[in-house]
Point group: C2
Chain length 333, copies 2
């Protein structure tokens, strides 16, 4: 027996087919597969091998006589870059092309190769978020940037290329349709109701309670109604912040604690699952308008993205988010 649920932020439907047989416990990885990575003397993100990456864009602490704790460097295999001539080309009526102008940076989250965000002290995670925040604000200054996406690929199933803890920030010259779509759905909700969709969503989830994992003063962590994958988890601010650049730097410590607690709960419940997370913000050009709230979507990679998902955009999830919440709550510290 399966149900279809609509994601109110994209209008996409997901299929939740719970009788595919797995209980929440079955998603726990075997211990052998869930160990932390072992040190690697050739890792370009490890201290001593800084010459293997392009020069720092930012480092903390800024005083270069001290050992670094967080570094931001240009991505050596950049998807978009700064040394590209901006152009637009049309080859006949159907084939449109443009230069891959933009920013693609790597945030090296710790000097320690065999570390994990979920196990780092909150102070260190705060420093990572400070670096992400500073780079978000810097990329926003570039008028060519139409969209800024911050993301993390953790583990082999999440298709990371290097296991040393890092995340990435990309500023693209066009708004991706999925990003545009999310924003249009939010505008349309505002047109209909005069309210911010994400504030309404936070209110609805808090009053429904059954999908909320926990709350802090400024943030709520929940498993969305139309979760695309088992244990999908969102972190959303409770107050008006359309873009990540709007977060008060003094609130990053609280966000760091919320992020650490969320990832630690997933780790404990699922045996250090591989995951992707994505931080969505309102488009830089529109980020003073109150249609949107930035948010983090954590997608554990415990299930498949195969032909059906690629062909339809519809994900098949095997766990109800309500069941994910009650299972994860047992592991919440």
């Amino acid at each position: 027996m399966s149900i279809l649920r609509q994601d109110p932020t994209t209008k996409d439907w997901v299929i939740i087919a719970t009788d595919r047989g797995k209980r929440p416990d079955d998603y726990q990885k075997p211990i052998a597969e869930s160990a932390l990575p072992t040190p690697d003397s050739t890792c370009p993100f490890c201290p001593g091998l800084e010459n293997l990456t392009p020069p720092d864009i930012l480092r903390y602490p800024q005083d270069s006589s001290l050992d670094w704790r967080v570094r931001v460097v240009p991505n050596k295999c950049a998807a978009v870059g700064l040394n590209v001539e901006p152009y637009r080309k049309e080859d006949g009526p159907l084939f449109r092309e443009m230069g891959g102008v933009g920013h693609h940076e790597v945030i090296i989250e710790t000097p320690q190769h065999d570390q994990s965000l979920s196990c780092m002290p909150t102070n260190d995670i705060e420093l990572v978020l400070q670096a992400c925040h500073a780079r978000y604000c810097a990329l926003k200054q570039d008028p060519q940037v139409k969209s800024i996406v911050l993301f993390k690929n953790h583990g082999e199933r999440a298709e990371t290329s290097l296991i040393h803890p890092h995340s990435q920030i990309v500023g693209t010259p066009g708004a991706p349709l999925l990003v545009r779509k999310k924003y249009e759905v939010a505008i349309s909700h505002f047109d209909d109701t005069g309210r911010c969709l994400y504030r309404d969503l936070v209110d609805e989830e808090r009053s429904a309670k059954v999908r909320v994992l926990f709350e802090s003063t400024r943030f709520v962590v929940f498993h969305p109604f139309a979760s695309r994958v088992p244990f999908e988890t969102w972190i959303v601010p409770k107050h008006e912040e359309p873009a990540f650049g709007h977060v008060e730097p003094s609130h990053l410590a609280e966000l760091a604690d919320v992020l650490r607690r969320t990832l630690k709960t997933l780790d404990d419940a699922l045996g250090n699952p591989d995951f992707n997370y994505i931080l969505h913000s309102a488009p830089p050009e529109d980020d003073t308008k109150h249609y949107f709230l930035w948010h983090i979507q954590i997608m554990p990679r415990v299930s498949t993205i195969a032909g059906f998902e690629l062909g339809t955009g519809i994900f098949i999830n095997t766990i109800l988010p309500e069941d994910a919440a009650s299972h994860l709550k047992k592991y919440l510290q």
Copy 2:
């Protein structure tokens, strides 16, 4: 250096970042990984274990005194099903749900466990396509079905659950947004030009030549201008057929040969890559209108679907489709 290209059938952009370093040759899988699967005495798709699947919906040859060559059975882990009460429910203004009504069937393509579509005789592939065609036409009769998607997950990286050669057909109660979107883009092209987008696309690709792998009398095989993954390959009919149900049964032999030749070329060039393919058709309700051509999209799983792709819908491809075409042509038989 990277470029962005727009897929004219979805309006989505892809990033083609060729300086990520790989040449076409580098995508070839090591021989150890590219062997065919070994027989498995517990496989529910193998002859003798038919009792492990629900009863046949269709089998070829139809004479049950003969050994079967192709079987179609309900998917035991169905994403949508027939024994579901259709309902729509709204829980507050944001949370919409409906029953997972629909069809989810498995086409077991051969009795031989260690077989591959690319190595099967054309006659046998024709039989598989006949079964797909018959089930497409049957699902279309159900007025609850708003979309029919046929797909195949081949190999571990393509997230197959069973290695015995099979494909799947799903009829869903709502049109997936991605499917709806493709159709809307096609309608909009017709509104603008009075022509079918896919016919124009076939004409443009045939006249550009550089991305065409080969043609037969009725089909053209090419690597699309905005390929999302390295070696993405489309098979498109040259004549007016909005939906797969419109293919003349007598043309399936030619399609079988085209499909076999395409998959064999990918196998030889890339060392039996894992792949997903998806067969798109016009929505059943609109499939007599000439806005659309059914087509097959083959996506070799030689690259990653990670946080950036999940967060933006933008794929990062590392090979120009023109380079994919000239590399694959060397292996074309």
